[in-house]
Symmetry: C2
Subunit: 429 residues, 2 copies
Amino acid sequence: MRIVSYEVHDVRFPTAAAGDGSDAINRGDYSAAYVSLHTDGGPSGDGFTFTNGRGNEIACAAIHALAHHVVGRTIEEIAAEPVKFWRSLTADVQLRWLGPEKGVIHMATGALVNAVWDLRAKLEGKPMWRLLAEMPSEELVRNIDFHHIVDALTPDEALSLLESRQVGYAQRLSVLERDGFPSYTTSVGWLGYPDEQVKSLTQAAYDAGFRAMKMKVGGPIEDDVRRAGLIRSVIGDNALLMMDANQVWDVPEAIANMSALKEFDPYWIEEPTHADDVLGHAAIAKAVAPIRVATGEVAANRVIFKQLLQAGAIGVCQVDACRVGGVNEVLATLLMAAKFDVPVCPHAGGVGLCEYVQHLAMFDYLRVGGSMADRMIEYVDHLHEHFEDPITVVGGRYRPPVKPGYSATLKPASIAEFSFPDGPVWRHG
Amino acid sequence: MRIVSYEVHDVRFPTAAAGDGSDAINRGDYSAAYVSLHTDGGPSGDGFTFTNGRGNEIACAAIHALAHHVVGRTIEEIAAEPVKFWRSLTADVQLRWLGPEKGVIHMATGALVNAVWDLRAKLEGKPMWRLLAEMPSEELVRNIDFHHIVDALTPDEALSLLESRQVGYAQRLSVLERDGFPSYTTSVGWLGYPDEQVKSLTQAAYDAGFRAMKMKVGGPIEDDVRRAGLIRSVIGDNALLMMDANQVWDVPEAIANMSALKEFDPYWIEEPTHADDVLGHAAIAKAVAPIRVATGEVAANRVIFKQLLQAGAIGVCQVDACRVGGVNEVLATLLMAAKFDVPVCPHAGGVGLCEYVQHLAMFDYLRVGGSMADRMIEYVDHLHEHFEDPITVVGGRYRPPVKPGYSATLKPASIAEFSFPDGPVWRHG
């Protein structure tokens, strides 16, 4: 089955005006740099990288720049030598300079690599989580580029870890299919929402079954304290409250502010400082323990995750599905996290990230992490209606997807409506 | 003086075919995503970010996406609140997601910020190094965004450091104007060159006065050993030999390979592993001492440099002029390096990087580092003929530029000839 052509769509949803997704540093129009890979007679593979609005066209340009490494290949040759394929994207002798393995060029890699995986899953007739969960350990290992991470995880260690987790697989699968996967909600506490809205959303989420809520912090500390008290008063002592500073604090500031917020018993502090600051996260982790430090949504690649784990900088690993170079690099990250015994709670929200990461969390539970303890999938209730196979969350738990693929396919009508700048929403907006 | 419009040029030089610039991971057509800022009646400010060929259009797209933060402003308001201006680029609530502060979007920031500085220098009638060298310490500090680096350097510390370096300024200025600034050459040992060419280029460089040479390593180790022996045999024991692996090694591999290469008395090993791997560089530095670890050409921002310095991971700081967010972020890096007592030898080569960084090294000598000991500017003899104010290197030393500006202005004929894809060189190439 050969990939014969591709198309790229710049799809943007006008979320900024509503205050959805507003935090200490972002106020975005949730967008997807979306790519479809067309085959000679088979299904199309769809993938995207998420962006925050302006600049989505840059991510689209990067997909165009990389697409020649994908078009013309067969799925069989990609599956036979997956790291060779992955490196054709990440180690292009000219394009690598633009990252390397970070920023726009790496996000575009993620879109393309995920589209290839979507195609593989569709061809196998399985949802992504099941495709990965049923893959032999040797093949999973063969899909990982260990370059620059062997000091933390060797292929042999990865294989041993996967093999050791075979114990209990059938039991975990039945639990997953019976109970679904735990989630937490971020929809209650965006900075753009007034207090009354935060309160009513928190109550509604609690009533819907959520027992873990995340609020944004990083505004004036007195506002953060007031909002934390408000949410805690609604959810009581039997639910988790997470906090997310979206990188706005300096290292000493993060430590001081968490001291002011600890009375509300935060479970984790997410992105307390600059995403690149491994040593800073380690210093904060040490200072705020037992509150966990969580990060990952803008951790660029496996080398950053390696260091966060080596340095004891994180107690929660929040890998993103399309910030890194797609499924292959997520596999590397899940395995390193398991080796360092750090639970993975993938980053979601935006547009389509929940659809992506549910597969990753479920695979991680079945084959890598091996437990639901301390694991949750982020849940944000935006924009799912635009996907062909949207998430299903019941009683605060994700149901395992059943349709073949990576759940990344947007409805054609949504692509048409929200294409930038010519879709009706933008032309008349 | 108001910036009223801008233009962007995608300029590419066909260097890949000749093997120039070939190393363990790059084989590029040296390119500039080039921007000119036009004023109402004054000079234009020119800046660029360097890329390796393919994908230069992505960097150009990123400049377009950021340009609205620049056009319409006056130089006076930018100079009055420089961090506010800088953050309008680096902390755009939508575009920040694409980095943050790394990759294409940050390189585009560098191009624009440098163009503004070129304009400032032209308006003051001074070469960039002199504009900075004659700037009051308070103003230099005011140009730095200390966000996320205060745990390594506070504004007060920066000010004290600058003030303490006022001692001896006049003396250093006269030394600089009399003797120029030391350099080293990278033109002798690209991986694409056959042994005989390496030998003759090394001899020619030695005869021209260079007493420091850099070779590329990272191919098969036996080739690296053979080439190192060859270069060392030409230059004898009274010249420095530096090695550059361009990130190709894993951490244990870097340590093992440097053990094999140490008999040739390398002065530094540059980019021994992945650029994001602060902890890896620290481990290598410890293992290979007294050989220094050098890195920086793809260190994305001040937060990476902060950590490299905090971790004792580098003995040489090779900040790039346009990988980071332009002059303002270079200032932060120079000051942190000085605090940690690590010499700065800026990255150059490519196209126009020598033109840029000579100004930075000379300013560093005069006001920050305060010494020429262990300082050298990289010298590569490519593509200088395309600049209006090219570097002058005499007897292996850079002469201080005298024309106003940041030496970033390309000749109009070169822009026309090498514009991609419509310039004659590409249309008929």
